[in-house]
Symmetry: D2
Subunit: 353 residues, 4 copies
């Protein structure tokens, strides 16, 4: 029921793909933090549709307005509401889908949950809901930067092609947002092939936080792993998350995966920077499994509301691979989860960092 993430640093998103607009209320940003509207807009531009040949061609300018909580360039400590108006809504694309449940989509589950649905789009399950997350994440990133915490992210796997390098400077130089220029080309080809076949492909997005001091997180229910896991799996189209070596650790021995520490440096990072749920001073590394977009142009069998099935091709403009647009969202959610953990640790210890 809840559209809220976080406790001390708390975001609440609102808005559907169709309606007046989408946005977010950010509560818990301490007072006196510089808030840069341009930085927020920049992150939204990384998320918006129509940014490249391999994203949906739906065009939305996604200009953000800050409604409250900021005065003379700094946060007031009060809630910061941000609004992005909806503009390019081609609802008629959805007309043929009014009486069917699309496979892979939330249509049926949504209908069973609410007893009704706005057939003009994905409602709250739509990727458009992430606009608010990205705007909020930009504020969290800005605040974290003041204590030396920086987040990077990129697409590290698409359709069987894996990035071998982690050259984060490459990410904004290719449309896949891959930190490996060579792999990026192969990924792009795979995505274009899927697009041309009216299909979609899945992938993996990696996000990394540098500069996180030891001591953030919690040893039990609010393990940093758990908070980051919830943050990532709350992003549309994600179906898995792993920290550090993750599932690969299932094949290894403790003598291999115990990261040796000499009091200053770690010899490895199988734990992904989190030990017993608490940051250990190493880089925090999280990977997210992104499923192929459920909206595809191929003919598919769909259940009709009134019984029976029907073969339909979903018209409209789709993302053949969501990974490039998931990258800024995953970075945002990581920033939000870390921001919350930081404030908790301040509450616990009463000091800056």
């Amino acid at each position: 029921m809840s559209s809220t993430f976080g406790e001390l640093f708390r975001i609440t998103t609102f808005g559907e793909s169709h309606g007046g607009g989408v946005g977010v209320v950010v509560d818990g940003l301490p007072s006196g933090v510089p808030v840069d509207l341009a930085a927020v807009q920049l992150e939204l531009d990384r998320r918006r549709p129509g940014q490249s040949a391999i994203t949906t061609q739906r065009q939305e300018a996604d200009r953000v307005e800050i409604l409250s909580g900021v005065f003379e360039g700094v946060s007031l400590g009060s809630p910061i509401a941000m609004l992005v108006r909806n503009t390019d809504q081609r609802s008629k694309d959805y007309d043929t889908l009014k009486d069917v449940f699309r496979p892979g989509h939330a249509d049926y589950a949504y209908f069973e949950k609410y007893g009704l649905r706005d057939h003009r789009g994905g409602g709250r399950s739509s990727g458009r809901e992430t606009v608010g997350r990205v705007a909020a994440g930009a504020l969290a990133k800005g605040a974290l930067a003041t204590v030396g915490v920086h987040i990077v992210g990129g697409t590290v796997r698409v359709a069987g092609v894996a990035a071998k390098e982690r050259d984060w400077a490459q990410v904004e130089l290719n449309p896949v947002r891959c930190p490996d220029a060579d792999a990026a080309r192969l990924m792009q080809t795979a995505i274009e092939r899927a697009r041309d076949a009216r299909d979609s492909v899945g992938g993996v997005v990696e996000v990394v936080a540098r500069g996180v001091p030891a001591g953030w997180g919690d040893p039990t229910m609010d393990k940093l792993d758990a908070r980051l896991g919830a943050a990532m799996l709350s992003i549309p189209a994600t179906k898995g998350v792993e920290i550090g070596s993750g599932f690969a650790m299932a094949e290894l021995h403790g003598s291999e995966t115990n990261d040796v520490f000499d009091g200053e440096r770690y010899a490895s990072n199988h734990a992904g920077g989190i030990s017993g749920g608490i940051s250990n001073g190493n880089e925090v590394v999280v990977r997210v499994a992104v499923r192929p977009a459920t909206s595809i142009g191929k003919m598919q069998s769909m259940a009709r509301k009134d019984g029976g099935t029907e073969m339909i091709a979903i018209e409209g403009r789709h993302d053949p691979c969501i990974c490039p647009r998931v990258v800024p969202v995953a970075e945002a959610m990581m920033a939000i989860a870390l921001m919350d953990a930081w404030l908790r640790q301040r509450a616990l210890r009463g000091r800056e960092k």
Copy 2:
């Protein structure tokens, strides 16, 4: 900071590996639900140490006492507190570890977080904290059973050996808790080999919920994926979680992973029973990556609190593979997360299921 999981069905665990005892307060179990002390004890027996040759030989009877909230065999609707006393505490095993940070353990992170630690054990990061979860999970399982929801689980991968079958009736017949009798033998051999080498191995645990109706969960922050992800990643030693086909979906196309639905049945279950964050009527399937136990008997380099490093072998009685004991904990956490989602859906729709 929080030791609480869930909102409407809410558990709060307490207790360290050393101290008066461990337990849980369960708030939000509706009134009138049958509460079976024997069922709670049975789940605890599945979790307890010393149950087989491939678990730690630490012996704790782990007898549970229900302190409140139950009268004449049914829940009163008030919080149910359950307590298990600590008994077999061999604190001296930890004496040599007082001034070092064990690799892989939370020791250093914990110390940075709290400024102190109880060196006699893992504190709240200890697996012993899960006693309370399992006891609470038994209540959730009992309540879910009244609406036809049943949870099963098992070890499906250890040290490179994968279960091919999902014969859940096998699970309690082998010490690995594997739903594939043939794979179980190979896994057991791998675990014994690690144990004899004073090492440990990782694995994967799968939990499945049957009978979950469509409509549980939420489309945004409290996606059922996110809640289950947080539930699983809050279990000690877990480093990854996936729903349905999870990371494998990263290699596939939308035309393959869109589960075709004819209004009654799904032709596949790549989504793991959750679409857009909401249960879709299919089986809910979750897998958890379990790292090799960090406590191993091999000599390891450890950072000293006062600087420098030291080679030490951790004495004591360890689990060579935690998977068999993670199974009941993962089942419990799934039950708790589903219970919460069920009550939320009742709040939203005002009907039984």
Copy 3:
């Protein structure tokens, strides 16, 4: 830190008296509930400044826009964001107050909390924040009406004049919003006298909920008394709250205050409709103490930020008595708290009411 009230029915307000606007995100309104924009506007009109000679002459049209969560006149079950733009901001009225702390106001406390403040108004302590509450309350009222719960309210005491009648039909017929026409005239005179003396007067507002079934609320921390108490004391300028006979019960005996019940009717209502924290089927009756408005035109001694004091008269347009404008806010907060209790009880019992 939090701008959120409620758990299942949850409102988050945003906005300062100066800035882009004020509003609210309402999360947890079940799907399919009729949402009437005109009804929301009507409640806002009852709250807005400039509505009569005894409220502030600041003029704001306060037109509300629903940004999300409503489709074809009913709620979608997703968050409903509502926005009211700020218009008539005469910031220069505040220029002389930039470097002083006004007595009675939150200026000093606010400055110590945040380290800075927007001197152009009361920030989040401003009564303007209540716009979002009233809009959210209108939705709650609408939903409660579908199960026969109706809320009324009025000013029952001002400057020593007490209402003897509870003729709720009178409330909108006099500017004091008093349910006793005779008392209303006396109250109006007292308010005008205070206004002419550049002063302000306090009072008491009463809100009553009819049709609340027995069983809403909780026996311990979330007693309905406690939730309603928090709801009322979160309204600006309130300094007390009582349920039923409240403080008067401190003078009475148990044999007088135990409301005799014959299984259908209560002979009295000292408990204000709540027994042991749970609604008992009687009318829920709450009274709120409203302090005299802190903004007065009289000369007052104010502490200077840089030390010393100064005599200053606060220019601008003030409310000589806030009670008439607190009435719709108190009704709204009662509706919000009851809505939350209703949904909790549905979660607990799984039935409509």
Copy 4:
């Protein structure tokens, strides 16, 4: 549904008047805070039954056991569970009440809420639930003392007799816990008279926090007034709360109630130390209306479960006036609410106080 109070400093109580015991889990006490078992026991002794001639003669030793979270006399930062066993349960006193709803009690509301009740006592509505609050409050008091915040409380009104003095040193010297020795004698007489008439009397309890720095609290939903209001109204038998001059302010003018501040001292304290929801550096003053105990020995008409009414006298040992035993509970709840506000402010500002 929730038995939890607080967010950062969070207590969860459990236990009924009849059952294994009552207790609390305290989550969020920072690590390294001295925890004094004797101090906890001392507070429980102030609350326990049988302590004087004017409290119930039910005898319970109420010895507390700390189960977790404390090591070598300081807090570990992990949850602290505390347990008090139930001993003197004379359930047969309740046998005649099995099939009726006692007037003033929660019996009927409870039954409608849960569909069942443990007729052997008040269940969670019983005053016995406050054992856990008092134990938790002792920890909060201890932690607050480390930053110079101290809480005192007493009975300031009973049956029409008002305390004129606030000599807090008197409180433990008379059984009424009144800070005015002369008034105490009159109050005691009134209470004994009620007791002899098999009746009960109400009163008012006042709690005061000294040393609270400016800046704790929040300007909107979590106003310190609102948090303290919820804390107080969650105590059994309370029906009103006021901060500072409270309801008396309804009779006054702004020029009287605006507390003049010279930058160091306040000339008055009508606001009770809270301005705009935030502590202003003045003493925090809260008063609570306590209703006459609902359990009285007089004959009363009671509704029968199966219809009709019956005249019954409630046997057993009752409190003729609850105020003396409410004092430690109100102090505890104030400490808990302030502790939470303190930790929030540390999160916001990142400094000790």
